[in-house]
């Protein structure tokens, strides 16, 4: 009888241990994606439009699969020749960049972001939803040193989104 009681108590202790263990698992649940590896290159974007506007169609996949730190050396020349084809009269732009420096900047396709103030694509501090990145880019391609050359080419005359953005997270408008 005594032996049986002892046995029951051990069983109880065992149950308690298992349940405590179970509780620990709840504190740090196993994650469904931990350890997953993704290694087939898909898409890659820093600034808007660089691949489509400046890279030869045959190289679009390759550009996406090249790390930004290696893009400058690989694509600088191609981008500069495309820039000069788009605007044969290019000298410098309103950002003070000549063709070589502007092309080198574009070739490394990252978005430069400031973490210390408000954001505007035109001042290289990031990209907000309402930023007219097309006009900002055209001005740098066609606008010349003061941004006012080729007046017919420095704006597409679409200066805002088709739906107003929200004042609260997630800021983008609801879908159509």
């Amino acid at each position: 009888m005594k032996k049986k009681l002892y046995f029951l108590l051990s069983g109880c202790a065992l149950v308690l241990t298992i349940s405590a263990c179970h509780k620990d698992h709840n504190v740090a649940p196993s994650d469904p994606n931990t350890g997953a590896t993704f290694s087939i290159a898909g898409d890659q974007v820093g600034r808007p439009g660089v691949n489509i506007v400046f890279i030869n169609a045959a190289d679009h996949d390759k550009f996406n699969a090249t790390a930004p730190s290696a893009q400058g050396a690989a694509y600088h020349a191609q981008i500069q020749s495309r820039l000069m084809a788009l605007n044969p009269g290019f000298t410098t732009n309103a950002a003070g960049l000549n063709a070589a420096v502007f092309s080198q900047t574009l070739a490394t396709d990252v978005l430069n972001v400031s973490t210390t103030g408000t954001t505007s694509y035109g001042t290289f501090t990031g990209r907000g939803l309402a930023d007219d990145v097309i006009d900002a880019s055209f001005k740098l391609i066609w606008g010349g040193p003061d941004g006012n050359s080729n007046p017919g080419l420095v704006s597409d005359h679409v200066d805002h989104n088709d739906k107003p953005f929200l004042g609260t997270f997630p800021y983008e408008a609801a879908p159509w």
Partner: protein, 220 residues
């Protein structure tokens, strides 16, 4: 000779326009991603308009969706959507934020130092935030904020990009000498699938400037 080239250019423009919109900002930019879950449309990174201590990271994929197409569009469990962040100025990622869809939820990892840089990305540790994907039919976005202060959303949104693509094609192919005024927003009425994160600047180890790019990759 010049005339022949002009005709060829015009046919190319007609092909692009006749077939509907094929590309935009980065929408449909390359054969390997066009029309797939890996096709990025745009990246946005900006200071939060409501809290100057936070930054907003937005990844948009699978663009040019009509309302009908949006009803059945979805994230893919085999696709990683990854923000890469350089905070030392060498254009090599020091931190990543990884987004993986699984069974109706978007799992957000990081920002943390990646296991390696470049072409292979591995998920390590547990998700920092998990948010239910907002369905197309929802009347309000589903939003979660994690213990480390990451607010997250994933689901369909109006494409925030705006551009007169038709006029651009005409200009670069020589069919027009200037853009139309007023222009016409070729993205009007189209949707994207969006992942939006708002996180404390303190998680970015930034000294004031970061470089960010957005990657998608699939599993082997």
């Amino acid at each position: 000779m010049k005339k022949t080239r002009m005709v060829a250019a015009l046919s190319a423009a007609a092909l692009l326009l006749g077939g509907g919109i094929l590309w935009a900002s980065d929408h449909g930019d390359a054969p390997a991603v066009s029309g797939k879950s890996t096709d990025i449309t745009d990246l946005y990174v900006y200071q939060s308009p409501v809290n100057a201590d936070k930054m907003v990271f937005t990844a948009n994929v699978q663009g040019l969706l009509s309302p009908t197409a949006t009803k059945t569009a979805g994230f893919d469990e085999n696709t990683l959507i990854e923000f890469k962040i350089d905070n030392t100025g060498d254009n090599v990622e020091d931190l990543v934020i990884q987004c993986v869809y699984k069974a109706g939820k978007m799992y957000i990892y990081g920002p943390y130092k990646p296991k390696g840089t470049g072409t292979t990305s591995t998920i390590t540790g547990n998700a920092s935030a998990v948010v239910d994907v907002t369905p197309y039919s929802a009347t309000a976005p589903v939003v979660t904020t994690s213990a480390n202060g990451i607010t997250a959303f994933a689901g369909p949104r109006d494409d925030p990009f705006f551009f007169d693509i038709g006029a651009y094609v005409k200009v670069v192919t020589g069919a027009a000498n200037s853009f139309s005024n007023p222009g016409s927003d070729s993205l009007a009425g189209t949707n994207v699938l969006s992942v939006v994160l708002e996180l404390p600047k303190s998680l970015l180890n930034s000294t004031g400037k970061i470089n960010v790019w957005l990657d998608t990759k699939t599993k082997n």
